[in-house]
Amino acid sequence: MMSRSKLATSLFILSEANFFAILIIAYVYYHAIGGGGPTARNSLDPWRTGAFSVSLFASSVTMWLADRSLRRGRRRGHQLWLIVTMLLGAIFLVGQGTEYAHLILSGVTWSANLFGTTFFTLTGFHGLHVFAGLCALAIVTLVAQTGELTERRRQAFEAVGLYWHFVDGVWIVIFTIVYLWAFI
């Protein structure tokens, strides 16, 4: 039987998956329709974003390493890997921030056309989730520095880890659809 907090997190993730599904459907639907103005093909740089994505994917691995350290009772390792995870996540967000700045300066905005609206909504909400995940990680990292490792805390660590993997998994889907699909 799953722990209570892991169960709740899984349900939360299920609801989040439904939420992202709707945003993705909107993106794909309008992608098919097209129209004038900026498109994924003429405004995105899959190589650059791909590089930053690797950072996010790597953070899933380090998250897993953190969990493993915890299971094996290596608390220092756990803390270190959490910090690395946060750093990698932050790098991804910086990448997204600069990408947005670049796009907006070249006139690709929320309101420019359907691509702009759907692109910024989808990736923006993902970015917000990464940011929320970073906040959760920061709290968890701080907590991990102090005091006993109670069962409750262990469950909280697990739950945050689960959520982080989810945010990562969603990006695989979004990256494939938004960045790769446009170029094949």
């Binding site: 039987m1 349900l11 329709i33 609206t117």
Partner: protein
């Protein structure tokens, strides 16, 4: 007798912080207090939504009336529908769920008591946001499904629509976290012996319902986010002028909206599944089928949203699909109707007010369900959609169904919640006035719809019979006002002077009746042993314990 500790004891700790008076409610994390607050909040909003309905009915009482200007009328039906759905039926049923599920499964509280309180307050906040619109340029006025592009800036520039979106987003998040809490509670906190197959049917349906909420509410929130981006950031999602699709909003809204209507009925089915057996003196007929049909309904409800869009020109192929799926829902629902009837058959029926509302539910909901099937027959929908025939359908299922179920539940559990009985004689007045007023208001609307009266019209020309029929409907609405006043009066006097209830006034069987009325903060000293679906029956009739009898009957 080997009694056991109630699971979830450790989680209930925060409730034991002592608070006095009002603060003991505001700061409460006790599932019972929160459940009661949900119900009281819903009751207040029922009054508000009802008054909005009465104002509409006054406007419609005679043709070419100028009692209300069109925009006021449009705000009223939008707020009436939104209120009744999101601030009355949903929170009322959630209130029952939050109050009863821990008791029914023999737990001390919800899995996450603090989250439980948070869910409640977020929803109250959402309701306040929605109603604040009245003070900032007017309430939203695009109907409870706010079709784009009418709901876009180009056609609704006032902020009302934004309040609608923000209020519903808050309510959606609150109900979603509440639903997650319920699922974890049911999975994690059942008393020993309470296997999932022995869950009381109310708890079971609340559980399935919570899954449906986890699937459906994020869809609403996703759609809300998009419309908000359109409105606040000049996005293009649903603006045909810049290539957006007006129909995409409809798909998204109804992909939520149809599951939503079942979210508003499943817990009411649960209430009926508790009330009818107890007052018939028999276990529910076909427990397994009633339980399984709930799951079937939940699944099917995710695949029928297109039946709200038969007039938009989806193409016959998808219309046939959605029509067939909608018809399919009639099958598991029929299974329930027949099982409830069969439970009464051969029983010893006690006509308490609660039972009368349950029987009223059975018949009124059947009428609403059958008119629902007439919409699933696509060509009929082509004629009847968006007419008063639809208004009649939705009130037969929502009022004749959900609200009748809620009344049955209130008369049934009020003694448990307050320790006092509701007056049965006032209760009977309430029932008969409601039944008559309800049918007078809404039965005739079927005819108005067939005669060509569209919904959401602030006034209408004096075509033959329209005036008379509308007047009858309005008079019926005032009977409902009278009925509701009787009900409120009954609540009011019974809380103070009702006969003391005792632990188990109805000779019921589920665990909530094993504890005191009202239950102590920690719910149970000791949970009775659970060896079947009716633990208290088994205790009282050890020689006829359910599981043994059922096995004997089968062999």
């Amino acid at each position: 007798m080997n009694q056991v500790m109630a699971p979830g004891a450790e989680a209930a700790l925060p409730a034991s912080e002592p608070h006095e008076g009002l603060l003991s409610w505001v700061a409460s994390v006790d599932h019972k207090q929160i459940g009661i607050m949900y119900m009281l909040g819903a009751l207040v909003f029922f009054g508000i939504g009802g008054i909005e309905a009465l104002l509409m009915r006054i406007q419609l009482a005679v043709p070419n009336n100028h009692f209300l200007p069109p925009d006021a009328y449009n705000q009223l039906f939008t707020m009436h529908g939104t209120t009744m759905i999101f601030l009355v039926v949903m929170p009322m049923l959630t209130g029952f769920t939050i109050y009863l599920v821990p008791l029914m499964i023999g737990a001390r509280d919800m899995a996450f008591p603090r989250l439980n309180a948070l869910s409640f307050w977020i929803q109250i906040f959402g309701g306040i946001v929605l109603y604040f619109s009245f003070f900032d340029g007017g309430a939203p006025d695009n109907g409870w499904f706010s079709y784009a592009p009418l709901s876009e800036n180009a056609f609704s520039s006032l902020p009302g629509q934004n309040y609608w979106l923000l209020g519903l987003a808050a309510i959606g998040i609150g109900s979603l976290s509440g639903a997650i809490n319920v699922i974890v509670t049911v999975l994690d906190l059942r008393a020993p012996g309470m296997s999932l197959r022995r869950l009381p049917l109310f708890a079971w349906m609340a559980f399935v319902n919570s899954w449906l909420m986890v699937m459906a509410l994020p869809v609403l929130n996703g759609a809300i986010v998009m419309l908000l981006i359109d409105r606040l950031l000049n996005g293009n999602f649903f603006t045909p002028a810049s290539g957006g699709s007006a129909l995409l909003w409809q798909h998204f809204f109804w992909a939520f909206g149809h599951p939503e209507v079942y979210i508003m009925i499943l817990p009411a089915f649960g209430i009926i599944s508790e009330v009818i057996p107890v007052f018939s003196g028999k276990p529910i007929f076909g427990y397994g089928f009633v339980a399984a049909s709930t799951v079937a309904i939940a699944f099917l409800s995710l695949a029928v949203w297109g039946h709200h869009m038969f007039a938009v020109g989806l193409g016959h192929l998808s219309e046939v699909f959605f029509g067939a799926a909608s018809m399919a829902i009639a099958v598991p629902t029929g299974v329930k109707i027949f099982n409830w009837s069969a439970t009464m058959y051969g029983g010893r029926i006690r006509f308490t007010t609660s039972m009368m509302f349950a029987v009223g539910f059975l018949l009124m909901f059947t009428i609403g369900g059958l008119s629902g099937v007439s919409f699933a027959v696509v060509p009929l929908d082509w004629q009847l959609t968006d007419s008063y025939y639809l208004v009649a359908h939705l009130h037969y299922v929502l009022f004749g169904g959900s609200i009748f179920g809620i009344f049955a539940g209130i008369y049934y559990w009020f003694p448990k919640i307050t320790g006092r009985m509701l007056s049965e004689s006032w209760g009977k007045w309430h029932f008969w006035l409601t039944l008559i007023g309800f049918n007078m208001t809404f039965l005739i609307q079927h005819l108005l719809g067939m005669m060509g009266m569209p919904r959401r019209v602030w006034t209408y020309p004096a075509l033959p019979d329209w005036a008379a029929f509308n007047l009858i409907s309005t008079i019926g609405a005032f009977l409902l006002l009278l009925a509701t006043l009787v009900f409120i009066w009954n609540l009011f006097i019974s809380v103070q002077n009702g006969a003391p209830a005792g632990d188990n006034p109805w000779d019921a069987w589920t665990l909530e009746w094993a504890t005191t009325s009202p239950p102590a903060v920690y719910n149970f000293d000791r949970v009775p042993p659970v060896h079947g679906r009716r633990p208290l029956w088994d205790l009282a009739h050890p020689e006829m314990a359910d599981e043994a009898m059922e096995r004997a009957a089968r062999s």
